[in-house]
Structures are given as C-alpha cells and as structure tokens.
C-alpha cells in the first residue's frame, strides 16, 4: 500500500523533474569542465568527501588507472563491446595487479589494503552504482561502442579518466539526452528500439 503511494508521488515528482530537466537539458549536456588538472600524471587527490559523486567503499581512482597508467576502459569493463552490459571487473581482475602493487602514498596504501582484505575474506566490494537507466529502457552498450568508436564511453559518462571519484557527468536518466544524440547521428528514434 505505502509502496504504491510512494511510487505514485515519486512518479509525479519525477514527472515534474523531467519538465525542469527539459528546460535545463542543454545546460546539463554542456561539456563538463575537468575536475582534476589535465595532467598525464594524476596528482594525489585527498578524498575529503568533497568530491562530486557518491562515496565508494574503496576510493578507487579512475583518473589514476585510466590516465596515469593508461589502462583501457575495456580492460576492466570487459563485455562492453560484445554485450548490452559493460561488465564489472571481478575482484580477481583487481588483484591481478594489486597482488603486487601496494600503493605509493598513504591514501592509496589504505585503500588497496581494503581491497586485499576483501579478497582474502572472499567478500566482493559492493560499489555504489552511479550510472543506471530506468528499468524500462534497454541500452545495448555494444552497439554504441561500435558506432561511436574510441570516444564512445566519454559521450555519456563524461571524462571518467579525469575523475578521482566517478559522478554522473551527463543527465543520462533524461530521455531527451538520448533523443538529442540519436537526432544528431540520424539513427532510429523508434520507441521499441529501447523500450520493450
């Protein structure tokens, strides 16, 4: 009963939100200024909880991995080019490196210890999900990667390789975001391409 009530009201609120978003979409879609200096070597970035995006159980730094160490996105997100789901790296993948790499500074040492403890305890790290669509929208990653090429990821996720902590760079939950891009590329805007 109460869930329905909640669902109903939230839906209304959300509906209104869409309207607002509609207005501010262009602004939302505007290029995201880098939140870290655009140097090949990411500077240590203390996690004072002041960073954008949700705080993760482990302060995993995409900027360090993707920019400083030049690891390709698909090394960890292994199924993005073949399946609708991008794939979350298994703990084994993390340990593949961190068995030997223990971290250079105190911050990283602490964080990597967390990972190792979890691995030894055979407990997977429960990351907080940043990017997700409503359950009635189907997003085939493989098709978009194939179409958009090297910059595919950044198109929606923003410049993750410069984010110490991942946040939702673009308003991807708003259908207008999808539509405008589909318009740009002149690809199908048929509803049942995504909604079924």
């Amino acid at each position: 009963m109460r869930r329905v009530a909640l669902g109903g009201t939230l839906a209304i609120v959300a509906g209104v939100a869409v309207l607002v978003a509609a207005g501010s979409r262009t602004e939302a879609a505007a290029p995201q200024q880098a939140t870290a200096p655009a140097t090949p070597v990411a500077v240590p970035w203390p996690d004072e909880g002041t960073l954008k995006g949700p705080k993760q159980p482990i302060y995993f730094r995409h900027d360090v991995h993707a920019t400083q160490y030049q690891i390709q996105c698909q090394y960890c997100h292994y199924s993005v080019a073949v399946a609708s789901e991008p794939g979350i790296p298994s703990m084994q993948t993390c340990m593949g490196c961190h068995l030997v790499i223990g971290g250079s500074d105190t911050t990283s040492k602490v964080e990597i210890k967390k990972l190792r403890d979890a691995w030894n305890a055979k407990q997977p790290v429960e990351w907080v999900r940043v990017h997700y669509l409503a359950r009635h929208a189907h997003f085939p990653h493989q098709r978009h990667v194939a179409k958009l090429g090297p910059n595919a990821c950044a198109t929606c996720h923003g410049e993750v390789q410069r984010m110490p902590q991942v946040f939702q760079a673009n308003n991807i939950r708003n259908m207008g975001w999808c539509i405008s891009c589909h318009l740009e590329h002149g690809v199908s805007r048929d509803c049942t391409v995504c909604h079924y």
Binding site: M1, V4, G8, T9, A11, I12, L19, N174, G176, W177
Partner: protein, 459 residues
Amino acid sequence: MATSIVDLPTGHTPYPPITQTHADVTRDVVGTLSPPGKGYLALLAAAVACFVIGAATFLFMVFKGLGYAGYQPPIFWSVFITTFVFWVGIGHAGTLISAILYLFRSPWRTAVYRSTEAMTVFAVMTAGLFPIIHIGRQWIFYWLLPYPNARYLWPNFKSPLMWDVFAIGTYLTVSSCFLIFGLVPDVAAIRDKVTGWRKWLYTRLAFGWQGTDNQWRHYSRAYLYLAALCAPLVLSVHSVVSWDFASSLIPGWHGTIFAPYFVAGAIYSGIGMVLTLLIPLRKALKIEHMITEYHFDNMAKLTLLTGTILFYAYGMEYFVAWYSGNTFEQTTFWRRAFGPEWWGGWTMIVCNAFVSQLLWFRKIRTNLTALFVISIFINLGMWFERWVIIQSLSNDFIPYAWDSMNPTWVDWFIFLGSCGWFSMWFLLFAKNFPIVAIQEIKEFIPMPRKSGAAHGGHH
C-alpha cells in the same frame, strides 16, 4: 438590454403578467440569500459526506489499483465513463437555455437560466474529474496535455480522447465565463444590501458595476457575443464526446447517428436535471411566483421534443443494425434487448422513449409533482443509456472473449461521490448568489408611466 426582449417576435406565448415592482423582485431574490435553515444545512452536510466517501474510495483505488472497480475484460470502460458522459450531458441544458434561447429571444428562459447555468458549470466540473479517475496511472494524467518536453513527445491529436480534453476544457471555461458575466448586474444589485464577507465577495464580482447607460450598452453587446460564442458549443461538445465511441469500430458504437443522438440526449437529460432541481428549489426559496407553471410547461415541451428525437434514434439504431446485415451489429443489438443484460436496455428505452411521451398532455406538463417524478425517470434513463452503450463492449467480435459488466462497491461509491460533489456546489451557489436573474425579470415589469422616460429605450 439594447435589444430588449420586451418586443417579442409574434407567435410567442405571452409572458404571464408580473404584479410586483422592481423593489419587490430585488427583495425577493435577496430574500433567497437569507441565513440558511436546518434543512439546507442537513442537505449540504449530506452532499459533503457523499463527496468525502467518493474521494476516499478514489484514493483507495489509486493506491490499490483500478482492479478493485468492476472491470471485466473485454469491458475496459465501465461505470466511470458511463458517469462521465452522464454528467457531460447534464451540462448541456444550461448553455442551451442561456445562450440559444437567448438568441432565439424566448422569454421564458429569464427566470430559470441562472440556475441552469450554475448547474452546467458544476456538472462539467464533475464530469471533468472522471477522465482522470478512470485512467490506469492517475498520477501522470498530465501526459494527456500538450506541453513541451525533453522527449520531443506530443499527444496524439488523432485520438478522440485528446479531442475530449479540449472539448471539455473549452466548455468549462466558456460556461464559467458566461455564468460569472451574467451575474454582474445582479451581484451589483445585492452588493449594497449585504455586509461582511459577502459584501467583500460581491464587490469584487460586480467589477465596479454602476448600471450606467454606457456600462449597459457594452454589457449587453458583450453578453450577446458571449451567447453567440456559446451556442455552437452546445452542439460541438457532446458531438465530440459521442465520437469517443463512434470513431471506434465496436459494434453498437460505430454509428454515424451518434453525434445528433448524443446532443439530443444531452439536452434531454439536462432539462431533466433542471426540473429535478428547480421544482423543490422554488418552493424552498419561496420564489414560486417567479418560476411559474409557465416556465415548467415550456421546459416540458423541450423535454418532449428531445425525448422524441431519442425515441427516433433508438429506433434507427435497431433498424440500421438489422438493415446493415452486419452480423456483429445484429448480435450486439439482439443481446441489448434480449441478452443477459436485457434490463439495462429496457430501462433506457422505457425511461427515455416512452416516459417522455407522457408530456404530450398539458395536464402532465403543468402538474409539477408529475413532472418531478418524470424528471427522476429521465435522469435514471439517461444514466442507463450510457451504461447500455458501454455494454456494447461485452459482446464484440471475438465470442471467446465475451464477458458481462459487473460493477463493484468502488464504482458505486465514486458515482455517489460525484453526485455529492455536484450537489455541494449547487447548494452553496443557491444560498450565496441570486438564483434568479433580477435584471431580466425586471424587464418584464410594465414600466410606471411617469418614470417611463427615466428608463429610456431600455430600462
């Protein structure tokens, strides 16, 4: 008024002589605004109670699901749409009497048009709730409205339901304007006789009315145009509503006769409701001498006319079903008369086609008790007409899917709620606004010779 209706076109029944003076009229009408008695309060309380029950039931349904109402596929519309069309229909007498009869200069409207206009507005207010009540996800009803959005999505203007949104919207706006506008001189007349919050209210609603010639000139012109603007709505609105059904392919709905048939029915039910309301009302407000047998006689004639049109329409439906040789149509109409739900069909035919024929007799037309009883039958019959139309869904093309209508308490409580909501507004109006148009009554009062000049060409 500029085109005063005192100089009647020939052939009109002369307006019965009025013995009172201007002062009397004003007094009597203002008298209707006297502090309410116990009976009135009791009625109001009952109305509010019904409304609260209905509202509570609606909330229950929103949280628990439409399934608690008596929907039984293939009947995907049920009591809610029936009631929706019922109230829209009621709404038609008002505009007809105020606008069309005004344009036709028929004198008898003056005493009754105020109340019927009020009824119209409230009926449409009630009807307007049902499209929202009956949809599956009430919380996103606004998707039915065209507004710019990030999805680049617009409503489907091909859909009769969209036409509805606009038809009802327009009708509500225009008829409210008409009501408020018509009130101006009268509100001004009583403005000076009341105190307290009413004074405050009337002062605002009078829009600074002084009754100067200049104001009268503009007023009567504007009133005329507004009436002209309303007139087509009488036909358009219910035609559009009828297309909700006629533009589908359901046997029993898919008929070209629907628009005129619905308009006639709407007026019929409208007048029926007017009678139901006015007969007790004039007693309660002690204005029998203003709303007289003369008025009822005329309304009864209108009822007779529209009722007879309905009679014809019913006949035609059956004829066409038979003549078309279309097996689906034939089955539907056969079952309408002799199927498991035969009682619905016959209630409709008896209450509308047959009962209305009693009004050929002047004795009955002028016997208010008889009229009141008949008007009740009319309301019942017209509700069932819509019920029967909806019922065409229960036996359409695929026999395997057939089922029958089977409403639940949710349907009935929400119907009750709509009645409460309507009565509540009407009662409040009756006690707080002049239910009879003071100025226009006054026009029929023979002018005192000496001061005649003072009134000029008009007034």
